[in-house]
């Protein structure tokens, strides 16, 4: 309809030999292009996994004994805990892939038992602690915390754990210990996502000493009264409810007391977007999206994000005099 063929061929339209040869070259190039395009299409199919396997909620684990209620838990009237299925199929845990549902499918290869944690740095009790040693004498509490991801979604999660401060005291940090550095397991056999150079592995996080000693900061070993599922950071992870989710180091294998501020993985990856403090702050936007509100998983209307994720009464005093706009 667009192309009217000429009735006859004008001499000006006869292709000269040089162009004719060019055409051969062109066809060869086109062949190569087709090959590359086919490879690219295969790449797309491979990385997009067009046929998505279904996310799998974690199987239920062993019930944890003697779990106490905590006064720090959020009120169920304003913050109803998210479902088990939500908390175990929607995870940012890049060691098991970058998709939210991939940890639910891939984290089964993690072996949380037996587990030990290396304690190192500025402290008296440098040693390899077994998980049993760490838990010895601790009373487990259920802490229902609001959990706010830097990506602007949130959940309410009934963690089971105990104050990190208790464990830190047992490690006897020296006067030089200003920060605590947490390192996540870095084992390709257990964590298929480590083969992707998305972040520089192992995953590292850190807290200032006073943040780490704060009564809201807990080491988590359970969820909904049961042993922590692998995709949520089994067997030992952090919960620091006034900070964005990426501060919550998972599957911790090393705790180090340092004099200098540790360089946490996301800050290393994109320092203009992710800082060391990462306090939930509705007034300081991420460069690419707003932090003023959030999508609570399971709800349609977005919620206003609260300063320090609603834990300001307990933690705001940690940051007096600190410019939170600069120290995001």
């Amino acid at each position: 309809m667009l192309i009217k063929p000429a009735a006859d061929i004008r001499s000006s339209e006869i292709t000269d030999r040089k162009l004719y040869l060019n055409r051969r070259e062109f066809l060869r190039a086109a062949g190569v292009t087709t090959g590359v395009a086919a490879a690219a299409a295969t790449g797309v199919l491979a990385t997009e996994s067009v046929l998505h396997a279904a996310a799998q909620p974690a199987p239920h684990g062993r019930k944890l004994p003697n779990v106490q209620k905590s006064r720090f838990s959020a009120s169920p009237e304003t913050d109803k805990p998210n479902k088990w299925e939500e908390i175990t199929t929607y995870n940012n845990y890049y060691e098991f892939g970058v998709d939210k549902d991939s940890p639910s499918m891939l984290a089964r290869s993690l072996k949380p038992e037996p587990w030990s944690v290396v304690v190192d740095g500025e402290c008296a009790k440098k040693a390899t602690w077994t998980l049993e040693d760490i838990l010895k004498g601790e009373t487990l509490e259920e802490r229902i915390y609001r959990h706010r991801c830097v990506e602007a979604w949130s959940m309410v999660i009934p963690w089971v754990g105990f104050p990190l401060a208790n464990f830190i005291k047992r490690c006897e940090p020296t006067a030089k210990a200003k920060y605590v550095k947490f390192t996540t397991l870095n084992d390709r056999k257990q964590m298929p996502g480590l083969s992707m150079p998305v972040l520089r592995w192992p995953y590292v996080e850190g807290l200032r000493m006073d943040e780490a000693m704060h009564p809201l900061t807990i080491l988590v070993v359970g969820l909904y009264g049961e042993v922590l599922p692998n995709q949520d950071g089994a067997p030992l992870r952090l919960a620091v409810p006034w900070k964005y989710g990426f501060k919550h180091a998972k599957s911790i294998v090393k705790i180090e007391f340092t004099e200098k501020q540790p360089l946490n993985s996301w800050q290393e990856e994109a320092p203009s977007e992710y800082g060391f403090y990462a306090n939930v702050n509705p007034t300081v936007d991420h460069p690419r999206w707003t932090q003023a509100n959030e999508h609570r998983i399971g709800e349609f209307f977005r919620r206003k994000t609260l300063m320090f994720n609603g834990y300001g009464d307990q933690v705001a005093s940690l940051y007096t005099g600190l410019d939170l706009r600069k120290n995001y």
């Binding site: 309809m1 667009l2 192309i3 009217k4 000006s12 339209e13 292709t15 162009l19 060019n22 055409r23 070259e25 062109f26 190039a29 086109a30 292009t33 087709t34 590359v36 395009a37 690219a40 299409a41 790449g43 797309v44 990385t47 997009e48 996310a55 479902k83 299925e85 939500e86 199929t89 929607y90 890049y94 970058v98 939210k100 549902d101 990506e151 979604w153 992707m196 998305v198 972040l199 990856e269 994109a270 690419r288 999206w289 509100n293 999508h295 998983i297 399971g298 349609f300 209307f301 977005r302």
Partner: protein, 227 residues
Amino acid sequence: MRLPDRAIRFGLKPLVFLSSLGPFAWLVWAALTGHLSVNPLSDLTNETGVWTLRFVCITLAITPLRRLTGWNALVRFRRMTGLFAFFYGTCHFLVYVIADRFAGLDFPDGIVALSTVRNLAKSVGADIYKRPFITVGFTAWMTMVPLAATSTAGMIRRLGGKRWNRLHRLIYATAMLGVVHYWWLVKADISRPLNYAIIVALLLGFRVVRRSARKGRPEGRPLHQPL
């Protein structure tokens, strides 16, 4: 390959049409029956966005495929795939308006109120202005609007083939902006947007190579055929 006109019109075209609707039908079904993830709003946003980009790529692939295979009837599917790109792009934009903007509004006078409309328009406008990757995504969608509007045979006639072809090269911009939009929104793993960047680069590169291969042809021959 030569297929009778009737086979294309009554066989292949309806088949391509229905399969192009497939992702949409699947998304609607999955959303209504709870087969999406626990964050269905994000699934709908991502899926409609990626399908937009896929249809833009399919549309851009038609001319190279036609040139390489000599199967000219392929061009008869180009309007359809292009309109599906626009369709998925529009779904993507609407999901964003509803799930990202409308769901984040305050409703001082209740939901059904004039202020809701005003606040929604303000919220969308401010967001497009403020967030660069939204600006780019919105621009990408905008570049498809005139293409969809001039997709009818009547509009081709009215514009004339040459001008119509020139206008429809806007899809090159759509593709590039779409890739930038995708690239810009991922947090760390760029492998998916990189795939599309490579595909778009190849599809546009084909045209550049072909154009330079045709340079030096005798003057005066009109460039009737779209590249």
